[in-house]
């Protein structure tokens, strides 16, 4: 794929997300806004540190963690697979339009595989899960907070932080790399469908061309990067849900902010992670 074309389509997607994101958070500025933002960042960081420490302490809540992996992972599969297929078809069409100009159609599967595995797959999966799972966690925990269900858990001698927050954070961290792999293969499948419809390329040849220039580390590093995305989504949405105040309005706010903040943070941290990967694993990384 022509780098300019990929950049153009990715930046269009990101611009759309950012526009929606900024619309959700940019309220009229007030004098204490900066202090409030810094305070919120501090509280979120403390929540994250507490979650990391708690993850290594009893009780481990294994059955609840497995249930959350099912809810966050398995139930997100239809969304991720459908999106992956559609993204694969679109990327394939864009790539073909560019490659045809240079007579380099044979490179289409490889370009698509590189685009999907290195960036589009992980980032799109992160954003989709942030929307589906992050909003769900924010609303669910927010609802439990305002209806005193979290206090009820505590009254029943259950550590609510472990039971509700830590399990969801771990579930997101486990589900994200798996969903990203599914997204990548769905994207490649979508790309194959688009390609074979036009050029009648065989599956064997398509796969051979797609994976010819991709090593294990090219797949492993961007995919493992999504563990951090999972941590961000789980932590931000659990924090906002767990600390909800203000009735049904508060629940709505927690849900919206879960998506907005986790998406924003995920996009920004992604820049940092890509830079680290390129610096540390420059020989293997894409």
């Amino acid at each position: 794929m022509h780098p300019g074309a990929l950049l153009h389509s990715t930046s269009a997607i990101l611009k759309g997300i950012l526009a929606a994101t900024m619309d959700g958070i940019l309220q009229p500025a007030s004098p204490g806004l900066m202090r409030a933002v810094l305070s919120e960042i501090g509280l979120l960081s403390a929540f994250a540190v507490r979650a990391v420490r708690a993850a290594f302490q009893r009780p481990f809540e294994l059955s609840e963690t497995v249930r959350q992996i099912y809810l966050a992972g398995w139930r997100s599969l239809p969304l991720v697979m459908t999106s992956g297929l559609a993204i694969g078809v679109v990327l394939s069409m864009h790539t073909r339009a560019t490659m045809e100009r240079f007579g380099a159609e044979a490179l289409i599967p490889a370009a698509l595989a590189i685009a999907m595995i290195s960036e589009t797959g992980p980032l799109m999966t992160g954003l989709l899960v942030s929307g589906r799972v992050g909003a769900g966690i924010g609303a669910e925990l927010g609802g439990m907070r305002v209806t005193e269900q979290i206090d009820a858990l505590e009254s029943l001698a259950v550590d609510s932080f472990h039971y509700l927050a830590v399990t969801r954070i771990i579930a997101c961290m486990i589900a994200l790399p798996i969903l990203t792999t599914v997204m990548n293969f769905s994207g490649l499948t979508g790309g194959f469908i688009a390609e074979t419809a036009i050029s009648n390329v065989s599956l064997q040849l398509y796969l051979h061309q797609a994976f010819a220039g991709i090593g294990f580390m090219d797949y492993a590093l961007p995919t493992l990067k999504t563990v951090v995305f999972g941590f961000i989504i789980g932590t931000v949405s659990s924090y906002l849900g767990y600390t909800t105040t203000g009735g049904s309005e508060g629940i709505g706010r927690a849900s919206t902010r879960s998506v907005v903040f986790s998406s924003m943070l995920l996009i920004v941290i992604n820049v940092l992670l890509v830079r680290i990967i390129l610096l540390v694993f420059s020989a293997d990384a894409l």
């Binding site: 609802g143 005193e148 269900q149 029943l156 001698a157 550590d159």
Partner: protein, 255 residues
């Protein structure tokens, strides 16, 4: 009465929110296996007192003992052990809305006992039968009326057979008949001579029925405590006004 016979001891407890003192140097004891009702107007600090007792809030100052264990300094793990001996019925029941009635009651049993699923099912049926809801096992909390939710909340709070039961506004939002039914359940529980019951209520009629001792909170302070008869004879204007409120309502209705 010796210290060991006091199920609950509050000593000079203070709690503030946003600089406003909600509980101001409150001290009281609740003897084991008795019922104590904490009364007061809205915002007098009743529910905060209950949450302090359950360890859901930490006091700013003072000491709180539950079965002779000081809870104000306990960590999370220590508090979990204390809470296993207590049950809490919330004002709006706080049932887990993603779980059925049976699963709500079974929740503490699955968490804290080694009972088999068969034994848990039998225990759940027994608890629900006690509150007259054995036929509602598979219903979801949202399908129940307010009174039924309260009874399920009571069954859940009693699932682990706690030695102390804390009840927040049992009559809130309920009709008089359902209120009397809930009151009767609490009186039966007290009469079983195994459980200490602490009820927070603004319903004087309920408090008279349930309480061996009554405490009246006003603006975060205790202004009166004693038996219902002792409070009836109180010279304090607020207490007099409060204790006569149910009689006035009866009089207004009859008039």
């Amino acid at each position: 009465m010796s210290a060991s016979e006091q199920a609950i001891r509050f000593e000079q407890v203070t709690k503030s929110f946003d600089g406003r003192r909600v509980i101001d140097g409150v001290s009281f004891d609740v003897p084991a296996r008795t019922a104590c009702c904490i009364m007061g107007r809205s915002g007098s600090g009743k529910s905060v007192t209950l949450k302090l007792l359950m360890g859901l809030l930490k006091p700013d100052e003072g000491k709180i003992c539950v079965n002779d264990v000081g809870i104000e300094t306990l960590d999370s793990a220590g508090m979990v052990q204390v809470r296993k001996t207590m049950g809490f019925l919330f004002q709006y029941s706080a049932l887990f809305d993603s779980l059925s009635v049976a699963d709500n009651v079974a929740f503490p049993l699955r968490r804290h006992t080694r009972m088999s699923e068969t034994e848990i099912a039998a225990s759940v049926r027994e608890r629900l039968a006690e509150v007259g809801l054995e036929s509602e096992l598979d219903k979801m909390p949202l399908d129940l009326s307010g009174g039924m939710r309260k009874r399920v909340g009571l069954a859940r709070a009693l699932a682990l057979k706690p030695s102390i039961l804390l009840v927040d506004e049992p009559s809130s939002g309920l009709d008089p008949i359902t209120t009397r039914e809930i009151d009767k359940l609490l009186i039966d529980l007290k009469s079983s001579n195994k459980t200490t019951v602490v009820v927070v209520t603004h319903n004087v009629e309920s408090a008279r029925r349930i309480g061996d001792a009554l405490i009246v909170l006003h603006e975060g302070r205790i202004i009166a405590q004693g038996t219902p008869r002792e409070l009836d004879e109180s010279k304090n204007d607020v207490v007099k006004q409060f204790m006569s409120s149910d009689l006035e309502v009866d009089h207004d209705i009859q008039g």
